[in-house]
């Protein structure tokens, strides 16, 4: 497998400017589907502009057969294993947009249009994450998103980003100070988020 297929997260199922959902095979699930991972999807056909988001929910779907198997009393082991390993169970991955990038670089704001259905969704490369997170402005969109578990999401995203930095403590301190500014009105929440990212 080449690097590109390894980083393919899935294909867009539905999308809005706020975020998008994509589907994938249960068999292909891996690190790049982690909660808090940075992913991107093209929003124009020429692939020049990408929506950039954070995975905030990964859902394993059920179907008729699975429901029956879960209920079934004496299901042989080999059937269960076959079901788990070989059958294609749909997995749904939900993404919150934190920005987009085009020829001019990364913009920490909602993209102008959503990605198209069935567009490929890729994991962002470390270099891309590094450049997106340079300003930490993306945190504002996350902190303000009521529909996602934003505190845990930001912590996961920061932990991932910190792992790319040589001086993790310095990065986390910078992020912590930014959080302190954004959350100065809510000290309890601030203390909670800081406890999640304390290096």
């Amino acid at each position: 497998m080449n690097a590109n297929t390894e980083a393919l997260v899935g294909r867009v199922l539905r999308a809005s400017t706020r975020g998008f959902d994509c589907g994938a095979h249960s068999r292909s699930i891996g690190d790049h589907h982690n909660f808090g991972a940075f992913v991107k999807a093209p929003i124009t056909n020429d692939s020049n502009t990408y929506a950039v988001g954070l995975i905030y929910k990964v859902e394993i779907k059920d179907d008729q057969l699975i429901s029956e198997l879960v209920m079934g009393e004496l299901v042989p082991d080999n059937i269960l294993r076959d079901q788990r390993d070989n059958r294609m169970i749909p997995v749904e991955i939900k993404v919150l947009n934190v920005g987009y990038y085009d020829r001019y670089g990364f913009v920490p704001s909602l993209p102008p249009r959503p990605p198209m259905s069935l567009a490929d969704v890729w994991e962002c490369t470390p270099a891309e994450v590094d450049s997106f997170t340079h300003s930490l402005d993306f945190m504002r969109l996350v902190l303000g998103a009521a529909e996602v578990p934003s505190d845990d999401l930001i912590a996961a995203a920061l932990w991932y980003t910190a792992s790319l930095h040589e001086d993790r403590v310095a990065f986390m301190t910078r992020a912590g100070r930014r959080l302190a500014r954004e959350l100065s009105h809510d000290l309890k929440r601030l203390a909670h988020v800081l406890s999640l990212i304390r290096p």
Binding site: M172, A180, S184, L187, A191, L194
Partner: protein, 536 residues
């Protein structure tokens, strides 16, 4: 960490006013503990303008008061690094003092920089732009507290053209400071000085509190300074090379000389009146005659004047104290004043009058200082009038130095003493005062207001602080600084001879200083950039 030319950013202006000072939110990386009131801060405004400010207050603040109820755990390095400067931060208040324009020109400040302008620690360049460079008219007296490499230079001409006050509690370095100022005036020939040297501090060697000896003016400037003495024995014992012994005649003491001692000798108004009456009755011999007067003599006076017997007896007892003073001779020798004037005016030499053992007798000190000053002042008035405004004919600017100055300038006596007159008439007759005092609040307010340059070390009495700061712009911020000076060798200079009040560490009075005095041009080799400098 940063070189002198790239200033250290302290924070950003977030509010304030011209009258109350600007509030600067401190950078998180700046520790409040490293700051000190009195330090200089420069705000870099638009178009190369710099607002030169003095730090006057430091405060702690927060963006959310709730943090006070539940303070974060500051022992955790991460939490400390996150909270400090974000939720919890420090602010400083800085008072704009001067504006330096893009050409380095210094001018009064009439506006303030806009919101969110950066504030920096003052650099050497900033300080030099304000205080100018050392040259033959500007004398290096010390350095700002945080910038020991820079120089605060006094404009000597302005220093001498109005009266000077050196204030501070006992032991704060007044005498050392005064010596530094006088060295400047003498070395550059700006003025001659007559020092009434109460504690033999100025002429010859003095031992500092730390036990080493420092040089007197005569040793530093043998050609320009002469010592005369009231107490030859003391001068000899200390090895001071004096020129002559001062003798005053009883017959030269005038009622005004005694009137000055009103408070010190506890003389009543009636006794003062009696002096004038006796002077009329007996002429110039009145003091001697009263001291020697028999009961019959006293009765004769009581019968022939309106002086009460009790008053006369009390006055007699008081004046009999004069007999302990060997420098008073029966008859006028008349030369002391003439000789002093000759030194000052014709030879352009400064004169240090050592008091020796009489320094401990305030009455003697005051009598002699007032006696001589009155006569010398008279000569100056004559000379000035004779010169008819011709600068070449004018006698040199004379600075008369007195200690315990409030005794001469108390409200009760200030309008009678020559010192009060000199302080008030300003430089009309080319005579000004250098007053050294620990209790400025006791000095007459009007006299105080005529003191052009004030140099003050630590004062801790509220009234003294008020007296020194009275009439000074930006006094509120200086008050904080003044009460927090170190107990030694720190002072604020304000007024006529400096463009703005400045907190400084006076120069060490030591070998290096002596050497710098004798080769003034070599003392400043630093190159100054910034084109034409505003010379203050």
């Amino acid at each position: 960490m940063y070189d002198e030319q790239s200033p250290k950013r302290l924070g950003v202006v977030v509010g304030g006013s011209l009258s109350k000072g600007l509030t600067v939110k401190l950078e998180a990386s700046e520790s409040v503990e490293d700051l000190a009131v009195g330090r200089y801060v420069v705000v870099h405004g638009a178009a190369g303008k710099r607002f030169f400010c003095m730090l006057s207050d430091i405060a702690l603040d927060n963006t959310n008061p709730a943090v006070q109820n539940n303070p974060p755990d500051m022992s955790d390095a991460f939490l400390r690094a996150v909270y400090m400067g974000t939720i919890a931060y420090a602010t400083i208040t800085i008072t704009p003092m001067l504006l330096i324009d893009e050409n380095g020109q210094v001018m009064p400040v009439k506006t303030i920089p806009p919101h969110f302008t950066d504030a920096y620690s003052a650099t050497e360049q900033d300080v030099n732009d304000v205080f100018g460079r050392e040259d033959d008219k500007h004398f290096h007296v010390g350095a700002p507290l945080e910038l020991q490499e820079t120089k605060i230079n006094l404009n000597l001409k302005k220093l001498a053209e109005r009266s000077i006050g050196v204030f501070g509690k006992s032991g704060t370095g007044k005498s050392f400071l005064t010596r530094v100022l006088l060295c400047g005036l003498v070395a550059r020939g700006t003025a001659v000085t007559l020092i009434f040297d109460m504690h033999n501090d100025y002429g010859w060697e003095v031992t500092s509190e730390n036990g080493y000896n420092v040089k007197g003016l005569r040793q530093l400037f043998p050609e320009k300074v002469t010592i005369i003495t009231l107490d030859a024995e003391s001068s000899k014992r200390r090895g001071a090379k004096y020129d002559f012994e001062v003798r005053l005649g009883y017959d030269e003491i005038q009622p005004e000389d005694v009137a000055l001692l009103r408070v010190t000798m506890n003389l009543s108004d009636a006794m003062i009146d009696a002096c004038y009456t006796l002077n009329k009755l007996w002429g110039s011999a009145w003091v001697r005659r009263l001291i020697n007067a028999s009961v019959d003599d006293v009765q004769y006076v009581v019968d022939n004047s309106n002086i009460a017997g009790g008053t006369l007896n009390a006055l007699q007892r008081r004046l009999q104290r004069f007999e302990r003073w060997d420098f008073l001779s029966e008859e006028s020798i008349g030369e002391s004043v003439q000789k002093i004037v000759d030194y000052l005016v014709n030879q352009r030499k400064s004169v240090v009058l050592e008091f020796g053992r009489y320094g401990n007798e305030l009455e003697a000190y005051m009598l002699v200082a007032n006696y001589l000053t009155r006569r010398i002042h008279q000569k100056y008035v004559e000379l000035m009038e004779k010169s008819l405004g011709d600068d070449g004919q004018k006698p040199p600017n004379l600075v008369i130095t007195i200690e315990e100055a409030h005794k001469f300038l108390e409200p009760q006596v200030a309008n009678q003493t020559t010192f009060g007159i000199i302080a008030r008439e300003m430089r009309k007759y080319n005579v000004t005062l250098l007053v050294v005092d620990q209790r400025p609040s006791a000095i007459d307010e009007e006299v105080m207001s005529q003191i052009g340059t004030r140099v003050t070390a630590l004062l801790d009495n509220e009234r003294d602080i008020n007296a020194v700061l009275n009439g000074v712009s930006g006094a509120a911020s200086l008050r904080q600084v003044l009460a927090r000076l170190e107990t030694k060798q720190q002072a604020i200079i304000m007024g006529h001879a400096v463009p703005m009040p400045v907190v400084m560490r006076p120069r060490n009075y030591d070998e290096a200083f002596y050497n710098a005095l004798t080769s003034p041009s070599s003392s400043d080799t630093r190159a100054f950039s910034g084109g034409k400098k505003a010379r203050f």
